[in-house]
Assembly symmetry: C2
Homo-oligomer: 203 residues x 2
């Protein structure tokens, strides 16, 4: 059921798969220190033991690379969450818990978070498919936390709003304009929409 990232186009050989991993690893590594600006394509190439041209063949831009990095990290988080699902009673609680857990994970690597989130929101149309994949994984994580199989259109809208808030709140935190506490409050606030859009509640 998990949205798989690999575009089936040309099935990569083992060496190619390894190269791809090395590149993503180097990207995350460099992002981990220094954030967005520290991910310099020449350095990524060198650290991954790959020519610059090759790096660009695998990821056609720095933004593509960082969005792919985020895809990768999100996938990890998704499987981790499957192992230890959130424990709250009601759906809103569980979603808020899940997002706060993710938030704490990001706080441990603020530079990496910076690089990934900035890339994600800066991405233009040429990166839409990749950004969409990230969005689908995020949506899946939230729906999992809600415990919903067949959300109504209304609920989907609420989930989108939660995602919007999530991304934008991260940005304000990363740029030092909001405190951790404020992010928490805003997440709790937006999660109220989950109660408001319960199907029985259709005003």
């Amino acid at each position: 059921m998990t949205a798989e990232a690999r575009p089936a186009s040309p099935p990569l050989t083992e060496r190619q798969e390894a190269r791809r991993r090395r590149i993503l690893h180097a990207s995350a590594q460099l992002a981990g220190r220094g954030g967005f600006e520290a991910v310099q394509m020449r350095e990524v190439a060198e650290e991954a033991g790959v020519a610059l041209g090759t790096l660009y063949r695998y990821f056609p831009s720095k933004i593509h690379l960082l969005v792919a990095t985020m895809q990768d990290q999100l996938q990890h988080m998704h499987t981790t969450l499957h192992k230890r699902p959130p424990a709250g009673q009601d759906p809103a609680q569980r979603v808020a818990d899940t997002l706060m857990r993710a938030f704490r994970a990001l706080q441990r690597e603020p530079h990496l978070a910076d690089a990934m989130v900035r890339a994600l929101t800066f991405a233009d149309r040429s990166v839409s498919p990749e950004v969409d994949t990230v969005s689908r994984i995020t949506t899946a994580i939230i729906l999992d936390a809600m415990g919903l199989e067949h959300p109504t259109p209304e609920q989907l809208s609420a989930v989108r709003v939660i995602e919007h808030t999530w991304h934008s709140a991260l940005i304000t935190w990363l740029s030092g304009r909001a405190s951790i506490a404020q992010v928490k409050i805003d997440i709790d606030t937006v999660c109220r929409l989950i109660d408001v859009t319960k199907p029985s509640d259709t005003a």
Copy 2:
């Protein structure tokens, strides 16, 4: 009551004020065709009839320039809104109306919107004060629409969530991942938080 933008540091002379305006005008002009990438510092300088170094003295980076451009445009919108306030009955309605009006204005200049919004969300810490100014104006616009003088902390959180949604929804629209209709739905959805956080309602 309106948040004024000009940092009082050195009061600009008339010629300087004129230069600043020419620069902002050139920026908006170039952004209007081509969007973010079309705003090239050398071109802005040339179009504004100013040396590159001078441009950088007025706006220390492309991001600063575009955020200032957004400030400028927002200010216009804010005064326009003062002349014709939204007409809805309840606060949520009025906020949604206001945002949709702003959205329609942006639709008329999608490239300009692209440049401004991308700059805004991409801005790093060095631009925090300027981004904060934009945020304050936006907050003021929303609170005006709500008709609130003294919002509770809860309501302020709701306003922040609305702002988050607004920015992020714009981004998804600009990058072609969401339709205009979807943006409208999500704005309506998030505006429900205004009802949910009415002081009488504090669960």
